[in-house]
Structures are given as C-alpha cells and as structure tokens.
Subunit: 145 residues, 4 copies
C-alpha cells in the first residue's frame, strides 16, 4: 500500500507512456486529467454507479475539474491515482484525486472534480440517489485502496 494514498479507497495504477511527454520532455498537462478519469471510472465501477444510472436514469456529469501540478512526470515511471468522494450535496458531489509517482515516491499532482447528478429522462439536475449516498459512505469507511 502507498502511504500517500491511504485515505483514497480506490487506487488505479498505470505506466507513464513515453509518447505522452510533450516537447518540454514532461508528461503533458492533459494526461493528468486522464489519470483522474481512470480513477473516477474505477470508483464508479466499484460503487456500481452505472447500475444506479440504468435503473433510475440519474447519473453524474462532470461539471468542473482542476489539477495542481507538484512534480513533473517523465518516462519511465508508473503512477498510482487515488480517488475519494467528499462533500455530497443535494444535487452534486466532489471527488478528490491524488497522483503518486513511483519513481519520485511522492505525489506528482492533486486535483478534484465536481459531479452533478443529472436526470437523463427529464433533462434536469436531480438529487443524489440515496443508494449512491450509501455507497459513497461505505467507500469512505472502507479506507485505503
């Protein structure tokens, strides 16, 4: 277990691709949002968000996201990206992300995203389904990924 990610119940790992470095010789900034997405989708799978979406037609939409870059990443390296849900509001919730560099043995970036729960049938914002709230809480208790 990676100590820096111990408070993130879902962690996904992937190798840094050489071709994702830009001409400054660092992993390009947009790739960090791919790392965030990889963790977010894995979290959704573990909490069966898609099943809830199918039965209720209510699902999360990414409303905003941000990243703070701490250490430039370079090939070769492997990153582990952790995520957790915080601040569940009436019709939205926040996910926090942390990208850990195995090479540098420290966090390379942190970030977050706000997801709005959207009713695809009515085309409007919707309350976060109780089932999802329960799952988010269960995940938070579960602790480290």
């Amino acid at each position: 277990m990676i100590e820096a990610l111990k408070d993130y119940p879902v962690v996904v790992e992937c190798p840094v691709a050489w071709g994702e470095m830009d001409s400054f010789g660092h992993v390009n900034n947009i790739v960090y949002f791919r790392y965030f997405e990889n963790a977010r989708i894995a979290y959704f799978r573990e909490t069966a968000v898609l099943e809830v979406m199918e039965s209720s037609h209510i699902g999360p939409i990414l409303a905003s996201t941000e990243c703070r870059f701490l250490v430039p990443l370079t090939y070769p390296d492997t990153v582990s990206t952790g995520t957790r849900v915080t601040d569940v509001g009436p019709d939205r919730f926040t996910m926090e992300y942390a990208v850990y560099s195995h090479r540098h043995q420290r966090l390379a970036a942190i970030g977050k995203g706000v997801l709005v729960t959207f009713d695809y049938a009515s085309g409007t914002k919707a309350s976060v389904p109780a089932k999802l709230r329960d799952r988010f809480e269960a995940m938070a208790k579960r602790g480290a990924g």
Copy 2:
C-alpha cells in the same frame, strides 16, 4: 485548392497542436492516424454512410490501416488531409489518405485503410451496399475537394 490533393474529393484542414509534439519535438506518429480519421469521417458524412448504416444495419469497420511518414511535422503548421475511396471489393473497400503540410508545402504523410462492410444485425461481413458503391463512384468523379 491544394495541387497535391487534387485527386482527393474530400479534404479537411486542422491546425497542428503544440501539445501533439512528443519529446523528439515532432508531431507524434499516432496523430497522423487522427488526421486520417478526421478525413474518413468527413468523407462518410458527405456520402451519407451513416444514413445507409441506419437503414440497412450495414456499416464500415476499420480492418487495417497504415501510414508512411515523409516529413516530420512541427508546431506551428496547418495540415490538410485528403481522402478518396479506391478498390471497392465484394465486402470491403480501401481509403487512401494524404496529409499536406502548409508550412512545408508538400505531403507530410500518405496512408490507407481497408474497411470491411459489416452487418450489425447478423454479426457477419456483408456486401458493400449498392447505394454506397454509387456514392463512392460519384465522389470519385467529383474530383478535388
């Protein structure tokens, strides 16, 4: 009109993105296949391939593709990518691509792809629909994009 693309009935233009250069300072090889795809999809739109797919459940699937790199691309530049259909066979057709660099005023890459017509209803290869053959021929006669 770009002389080097005069035999390609569909041509799409897009700027080279700085962030698509890799750490060798050249546009990364995978981006050329995105240029090809941009031209392919534009061609499909102009020949209404999607409408044929919807009415017949038969559509093209990319079976193979290749690219020959002639000149390295760098930012800033604009590329125009031309495409044409050649060699329409019983259950497949070939698309050829040419990527023209405005900066270098010459072709930066050429390539092609083989597309197999697939029947989504039965899950098997299908004959190229007569409607598509007619449209491909009409495009070939139309000449330059």
Copy 3:
C-alpha cells in the same frame, strides 16, 4: 469577431475531431485542456515569451489549471478558444480561457491556469520579467482577438 470572446486578445480556432468524443458521445473532458493549451501557446508566441525565456532563462510553468464545463461538445463543430492574462503577481500570473462552440453559438467551457515564472538556471521561482509584464499589458489593451 465572436462577441463572447471580445475581451480575449488571442483566439485560436480548431475543428472538433470525431475521435475526441468518448463513449458517452461527447468530447472527452481532457480535450478542453488541449484547447486551453492551444490558446496559451498562441498567446506565448504573440508575446514572444519564448524569446524572453531564451535570453533570461526564465519561463512560465503551469502550476495549476481548472475548467468549468457549460455545454457538451459533439462532432461536427468548430471551437474558438480565447485567452487573456489577468492578475500578474510577483512570481506568477493567471491566464483565463473561454471555449466558444460555433454550433451552439455560446461558450462551451471557461477555465483558467496559474503560471509560475521559473528560473531554469537556478532552479527556483523568479520574478515575472519586466519585458513580459509590458507585453501582457500591451495585449490587454489590444482587446479582442
């Protein structure tokens, strides 16, 4: 001129690529940061940031960035991305971005980034060079791109 981008001195345009849509059928979130980068790099070219970097060894590093998604983008569309510099501090400045959808005729996303000026020779943060401050001011006065 695009009214919604009139306060952005640099505006770059690019077509939406079909292949940048994800399996939800919308342009994937990471692509918006590519749009931001395209505008940022164009701004740097117009203000000759790279020349300043070469003579002073001081250049901007992206410290953080964020995006708020307003309208989902789909192919076919063209986006124009505007950028401007705001809040020039002792060792950093902020760039704001706005992504305008030609199809929807409204902003599809807004965002910003904080760039820290870094002295590559000493490996530490540096003051924003006077030459850059002057250029940022000149750009702000110039008005719409």
Copy 4:
C-alpha cells in the same frame, strides 16, 4: 507468460483507459499505435538504443507503420503488447507488434513498423550500427518477454 506472445522478447502491459474508447464504444484506432510505441520504446531501452544514439549520433526514425485490427477492445481490459525486431537491412529494420487482450485471451491486433537508421550529424540515412545488430540478435535469441 502469455503463450501468444512467446516469440516477442519485450512485452509491456497497460490497462485500457475508459476515455480511450470513442463514441462507437471501442478503443479508438489511434490508441493501438500508442501500444506499439510503448513496446517499441521499451525495446529500445532494453537494447540501449539511446546510448548508441548518443555516442554515434545514429538513431532510428519511424518511416512507416501499420496495424491489423482483430478484436475490438473495450474497457475494462488490460493489454500486453509484444515486440520483436525482424529483417535488419543495410539502413533499416522492421519491428513487429502483437497486442494481446487479457479479457478476450487472444490477440486484438498485430502490426509492424519500418525504422530507418538516420545520422543526425550528417542528416542522411546511415548503416545500422554493428552494436545495434548484435543487440537485436541477442534479443531474438533471448526469446519470450
């Protein structure tokens, strides 16, 4: 060890990213060339191609590449990509690639690329350095990755 990759001395593994699927719900075709590149760069690292480049100023340039798609990839999955050098000519060599899907337990794509050895000092094609030939042969004897 993956039986289907037993003749490839270098094999790299990476997870399929959800965001790399396009709106047809399959991993977009350009991503396969990223898989190829990941394997190619790993092979170059293992054979110390970069060291040879630095001492001799001769290095490989991708002249052409191709891919044949066998099975569509979807998230979640993990792919292992194998590569080997074949056909070392006077001033070029061929690399073959095979992408194995863990989910489908079969090859999802095969491909190859031709790399030309280029003398960066003189700007012309160069003979494949003897040191590289030796390493390619040693790799071929080594067998499966």
